[in-house]
């Protein structure tokens, strides 16, 4: 398939090193890849796999503190690792372009979008300024940006994230390059926005026959975008094949384990009995930041029962984390009640008693910022035990050890470590342990798995499930990820714009009919099936058509 005539990019034995602690350490350890004209290659792997470094390396670029240490990157016959600066510069924009993860940070705040778009088309003499501007507007239209004639004349901060991401794709297309590197272009977006950006990118790449390297950690996304997939791990290639084969018949164990990740589902629990008292319940809670005109939470009611998990799901800005903050007493409600075991709880956490504070504990999304980097594990876990339960000396040590064993970390090995000496998943386990150390009734899990790689996240979910059974805990599980909800929830609360859209038992929420927004949310979650994007788009078009006909 990749004979000499159609081959655009040929990377051989690429090695890149990074400077760390005054020593050069390998990041990419000899990767080969080829890309034919018009082909889209998906690079997939967990964090630290070196996928971004390879993507940038394919442009002949390494970040500060990194260097090429071997191999070659041949683009259309020119080895970019050895070419002089001038040659590499002249290839960029005109023949190779880049789309970054964070469009908001990657557009220069001082210039209008369209001027950034046309900058190199004009400078490299591809077209005149007028032509380039007209072309930009055409591209904006093609990428389905609202007000294509006008949007380019705005500054980056005046345009939303999803629109900026499309504008950046348009900018990459400005000189009709042969190759575009997409570096996690939809990772920072909500699912309902992601689907629009994905379809826009795919359409335009097909239209111009552009070759692309599509970097992501999300299997379902790459299945929609790529002709061929390469799996990376620790800077090495694990395997590569065309998308169909890769999804259905992966060869390597590591790939299979990646594919199998979403298999975990907590077992169903019996219904809550009629007379059960919830551990915590919110009754018509409305909350507002003092500086804002509109309430951030509007009439929120939900209840948490021992041994059961309520998943609160929604996109960014839906108010799901704010609900947790209100419950914790960090953002006191302006109306409504919070009850603990049927008794009203002070709105302000400062006014709550020690016993009340002890009953509700929180696990944070970013374990990195949730653990004090200067405290040892024994102190991080030990403090709540001392503070709430008065444990000291030998009893404290024993309890700490038992708890570490409970979260599946070897006590002798981990007691005296600092958080920086742990992996991401281990840190999150310590976060869980700190919450459990208080012996709480309700644990709030705020996006606890979303910063983690899939395999690690799976382990955390299993652990949470085990601990729930052992300690009969109630969980409030906040997440934006539908597959996590499917795995762990008993009840589901769907939120949007600070309101509850729909709530009820998991099975009821996930089977039609849905509220309109729930439907949009559910249908926007990418699936592994490579035809998923086509199907969803087709469905939406026909629905729109039907709606139009009904009118």
């Amino acid at each position: 398939m990749t004979n000499q005539d159609t081959q655009l990019l040929k990377v051989q034995n690429l090695q890149i090193e990074g400077l760390s602690e005054d020593r050069w350490k390998p990041i990419v350890k000899g990767v080969d890849l080829t890309l034919a004209k018009g082909e889209v290659l998906g690079l997939i792997g967990e964090s630290g796999a070196g996928k971004s470094t390879i993507g940038l390396g394919a442009m002949g670029y390494v970040r500060d503190g990194c260097r090429f240490s071997g191999g070659s990157v041949e683009f259309d016959g020119v080895d970019l690792t050895k070419a002089d600066r001038e040659t590499r510069r002249n290839l960029r924009s005109t023949r190779i372009a880049y789309v970054a993860q964070s469009a908001a940070a990657s557009f220069n705040p001082a210039f209008k979008l369209i001027n950034q778009h046309t900058e190199f088309a004009v400078r490299r003499g591809v077209m005149s300024r007028d032509e380039a501007q007209r072309d930009a507007i055409d591209l904006y239209r093609q990428l389905q940006l609202p007000n294509p004639d006008e949007i380019g004349f705005r500054y980056p901060h005046q345009v939303s994230g999803g629109q900026l991401q499309r504008a950046m794709t348009a900018m990459a297309m400005a000189c009709r390059p042969d190759l575009i590197i997409f570096d996690e272009p939809t990772t920072a977006l909500d699912v309902t926005t992601q689907i629009e950006v994905l379809s826009a990118i795919r359409e335009i790449v097909e239209e111009f026959g552009t070759s692309a390297i599509y970097i992501t950690h999300d299997l379902a996304v790459v299945a929609q975008m790529a002709d061929r997939i390469m799996v990376l791990r620790h800077g090495n290639e694990v395997e590569s094949a065309d998308t169909e084969t890769m999804l259905n018949a992966p060869q390597e164990d590591y790939t299979k384990s990646l594919w199998a990740v979403r298999s975990f589902t907590a077992e169903e629990k019996p219904e809550v009995s009629e007379d059960a008292v919830p551990v915590v319940s919110l009754k018509n809670v409305t909350a507002q930041y003092p500086s804002m005109a509109q309430p951030v939470l509007n009439d929120i009611s939900m209840s948490f029962y021992p041994g059961r998990t309520v998943a609160v799901v929604g996109e960014s800005g839906s108010g799901k984390s704010t609900t947790a903050r209100s419950l914790m007493g960090l953002l006191p409600p302006i109306s409504g009640d919070i009850l603990l075991n049927g008794e009203p709880l002070a709105p302000q956490f400062r006014k709550r008693s020690k016993a009340e504070l002890k009953s509700v504990q929180m696990i944070y999304q970013m374990a990195d910022t949730a653990l004090n980097p200067k405290q040892r594990i024994r102190d991080i876990i030990g403090r709540p035990m001392t503070y709430y339960r008065g444990l000291k000396g030998k009893a404290l040590t024993e309890e700490t050890r038992a708890l570490l064993a409970d979260i599946e970390l070897e006590p002798d090995q981990y007691m005296n470590r600092l958080p920086s000496e742990l992996s991401g998943g281990q840190k999150q386990r310590i976060g869980i342990a700190r919450a459990l150390a208080a012996a709480p009734q309700l644990v709030i899990c705020d996006e606890v798995t979303s910063a983690l790689d899939q395999l690690v996240a799976e382990g955390i979910l299993r652990l949470l499930d085990k601990l729930q059974k052992e300690h009969n805990l109630a969980y409030m599980f906040i997440t934006h990820d539908i597959s996590t909800v499917r795995a762990i929830a008993d009840e589901v609360v769907v939120m949007q714009h600070g309101k509850i859209v729909e709530q009820g038992p998991k099975n009821a929420i996930f089977s039609p009919p849905h509220a309109l927004y729930t439907d949009l949310l559910l249908s926007s979650v990418p699936e592994m099936d490579p035809t998923w994007l086509d199907r969803v788009l087709a469905d939406r078009v026909s629905e729109a058509a039907r709606a139009y006909l009904v009118e």
């Binding site: 760390s20 602690e21 005054d22 503190g65 914790m328 007493g329 960090l330 956490f349 709550r352 020690k354 504070l357 929180m362 944070y364 970013m366 910022t369 949730a370 653990l371 004090n372 980097p373 200067k374 405290q375 403090r383 709540p384 503070y387 709430y388 700190r434 208080a438």
Partner: protein, 278 residues
């Protein structure tokens, strides 16, 4: 300590140079009476005697031994600057941490007061206060410490603000921990590295300001030996082509350069750590 020596061996030449210089100054300051050939304000000869085997650097405008006064000057000048900086840091960081943790009106009150003090040029404000309290070592230390505490406050507050937004501080607050515990256990350990570097920089500024005031005759008062005043007392020699009066000034500069080199290295290491974390 061993770890530090190990780090130092890998440090750039400038930082090693800085450490050697600082240690040398500390040594001289501590052992001044043993090292100096004469008494601090002992008159040993005629005015402005040239360099000789007895008076290594000659004598000053009153016939006191220059070398002796240089050695005692290390003790006085560095000692006072160091004490002033320590006071400024204790006051400034405590207030800064308070403002960051409590926020609200405490923060507003402290920050606005500091804004006012900072909007008066340092040296000018120092001159005003010294007019009022008179030029003595106590008022000098108090006045300069007060002024520099405002700068330290701003930095300490900013550093602490960056830490207060961390989830682990929120976790401690929601757990019910008291103010003192949060400042001591959650904030201080994490704020220490940037504040140590800042201490070096602020010491330099304090040192230069005090030397400047002494040079103007408004700082450390005679007969105490002090590098700033020594320059002023003997400056007329320069117009005769003799650079001896500039030796104390050079000594001031050398120490400041040395401290700056060390701070540079520390900051560089700190930023290196940050990029490694990513």
């Amino acid at each position: 300590m061993n770890g530090f020596l190990h780090e130092l061996r890998k440090a750039p030449l400038t930082a090693q140079f800085g450490c050697v210089v600082v240690l040398l100054y500390i040594f001289v300051a501590i052992f001044a009476p043993m090292l100096a050939p004469f008494g601090e304000s002992e008159v040993v000869g005629y005015e402005y005697e040239p360099w000789s085997a007895v008076n290594w650097l000659g004598t000053d405008s009153l016939g006191r031994d220059m070398a002796t006064r240089m050695i005692y000057g290390a003790r006085n000048t560095i000692g006072i600057a160091l004490l002033t900086t320590v006071i400024a840091f204790v006051v400034g960081t405590t207030a800064g941490f308070f403002a960051a943790v409590l926020q609200g009106w405490v923060d507003q009150l402290l920050s606005r007061a500091v804004d006012v003090v900072i909007s008066i040029p340092t040296l000018i404000f120092a001159l005003l206060l010294l007019t009022i309290f008179g030029a003595s070592v106590t008022s000098l230390i108090g006045v300069i410490a007060l002024i520099y505490a405002t700068f330290v406050y701003r930095i300490a507050r900013a550093v602490a603000m960056g830490i207060v937004v961390m989830d682990y501080v929120e976790a401690a607050q929601v757990r019910g921990e008291g103010l003192w515990w949060i400042m001591r256990k959650e904030i201080l350990p994490n704020a220490a590295p940037p504040l140590v570097a800042e201490f070096g920089l602020r010491f330099c500024f304090v040192f230069l300001t005090i030397s400047g005031l002494s040079f103007l005759g408004l700082g450390i008062q005679p007969p105490a030996a002090d590098w700033g005043s020594m320059v002023r007392e003997n400056a007329s020699l320069i117009t005769f082509g003799d650079l001896t009066p500039l030796i104390p000034a050079a000594a001031i500069g050398l120490l400041t350069v040395a401290v700056n080199f060390i701070v540079d290295w520390m900051l560089h290491k700190a930023s290196g750590l940050k990029t490694r974390g990513k």
